[in-house]
């Protein structure tokens, strides 16, 4: 129960931080915001790495392997495409 309260505390506080920051993002950056925030939501990758590397059963290894691929596409593709877009906004300076 103690740990549950602790993680819920973190969850709620993080939501507030998210609302505070995101409401300040100007509309011209909304597309990079989506792709960039999308890339960090690929943090599931660390869970995927553990499942794939622990090799507990064949099924968990396969699931972990697929999850590593999916999450890596999400992370690498997300950060890179965001970088491409933001570079265009920056070019004039």
């Amino acid at each position: 129960m103690e740990t549950l309260i602790a993680v819920i505390t973190i969850f709620v506080l993080a939501i507030f931080v998210g609302f505070e920051i995101i409401t300040k993002v100007p509309p011209i950056l909304h597309t990079p915001l989506m792709s960039g925030s999308n890339a960090i939501s690929g943090i599931t990758l660390i869970g995927a790495i553990l499942s794939a590397g622990t090799k507990l059963t064949l099924l968990t290894t396969v699931l972990g392997f697929l999850a590593v691929i999916f999450a890596t596409i999400n992370v690498v593709g997300g950060f890179l495409v965001t970088h491409r877009m933001l570079k265009m906004f920056k070019r004039r300076e």
Partner: protein
Amino acid sequence: MTLTLINLTYLIASVLFIFGLKGLTHPRTSLRGNMLGALGMLLAVVVTLIDRHIVSYEIIFIGLFAGSVIGIVLALKVQMTAMPQMVALLNGFGGGASTLVAGAALIETIHGEGILNAQFTIATAASGIIGAVTFWGSMVAFAKLHEIISGRPIHFSGQQILNAVTGLFSLIIGVLIILNPANTDLYWVLIIISSVLGILLVIPIGGADMPVVIALLNSYSGMAAAATGFVLNNNILIITGSLVGASGIVLTRIMCKAMNRSLMNVLLGVTGTIKKSAISADEFYKGRVKSATPEEVAMLFETARRVVIVPGYGLAISQAQHAVRDLANLLESRGVVVEFAIHPVAGRMPGHMNVLLAEADIPYEKLKEMDVINPTFEQTDVAVVIGANDVVNPLARTDPKSPIAGMPILNVDKARSVVVIKRSLSPGFAGIPNPLFAADNTLMLFEDGKKGVHDLIAALKEI
């Protein structure tokens, strides 16, 4: 000791993610922000690799390599006009990964690794539902945006009942998993039903409502990661997932407000069922529309001091962003002030038009938000509408019975002259005629966006 190091690094990564998002609040700091986020991710991944539970690295590295190659190819190949479907695809992969991880965690726990408690089972069920809905919802959105399937809303009788039943069914299976987690087959049943739910939820939505769906799926992918964080009792997943979940919700709200519709209304695809207006479009426009040649439009520009360009989805379809840049430069070289008016839902995702215009090297200071530019239309000599329709339809202000009544629009009709570059008089997503096209101060240039702008440039140079 190792565990302390891992958790401390996760904390640092979380802080970097927050700074990264904060960097996105201004174009000047945004590039650094994105890099901070990527650095946080790199730290988190590297430190995870030293976890003592890992017995084999081959599979991990093959997965990381394959995913990186696919991710790099996608990110470098995608055209800026195709960004909405790219984001949809990435959302889907993130949600799918969360679901798979939660499934693997369930099996591991049944095998005696970790603690099987209420938090674990509830979170696993939640991750299964949200992740599968995100994955399949995103795939349908991708297929619609990429025109693999029709982008129009798909409706059939009993649709809402079917959706409700499917949603209820997946909740029931979720509860069964919570009550009896040892039966891991139930998890796969849950995934199948939630996958169907994800498809059903997105097929009735189409066209101009896509920005809302993309934003919402963005939020779901974050929530799926947060739920997986509760499954694994992992703070960084919870923190990051909630940040992204909140971000998607904020964007969804902004999009809904910009269309003056409730989220429910968009999700149920209500617009698609609007009945045809009493008079046909032909009668509506008959004898009132003035078609102009590029030369006639160029004459307007000759005396103009201030021009506002209003881009819409049509600009993206015809890839006209570079042509528009040339037109703006040409006008500016003649001493005309040129600005761009960006409606929040123009295009197929939040900020779509800004990215396209930035791609064409148009400085972001010239891209004006609706609230900033609207009061200036009365002092505007020529407003040039390229491939936009519903977002400049004055009926939103004047006709309370119109399906777009109350939607905030760009007040283009208040400009001294209006030029609309559009292939035909076909209606926008709302399916209604646009009095702007028939207004006294409007000239229609019936042409594809890019071709029309090119013709205009040629005509301007002749003068």
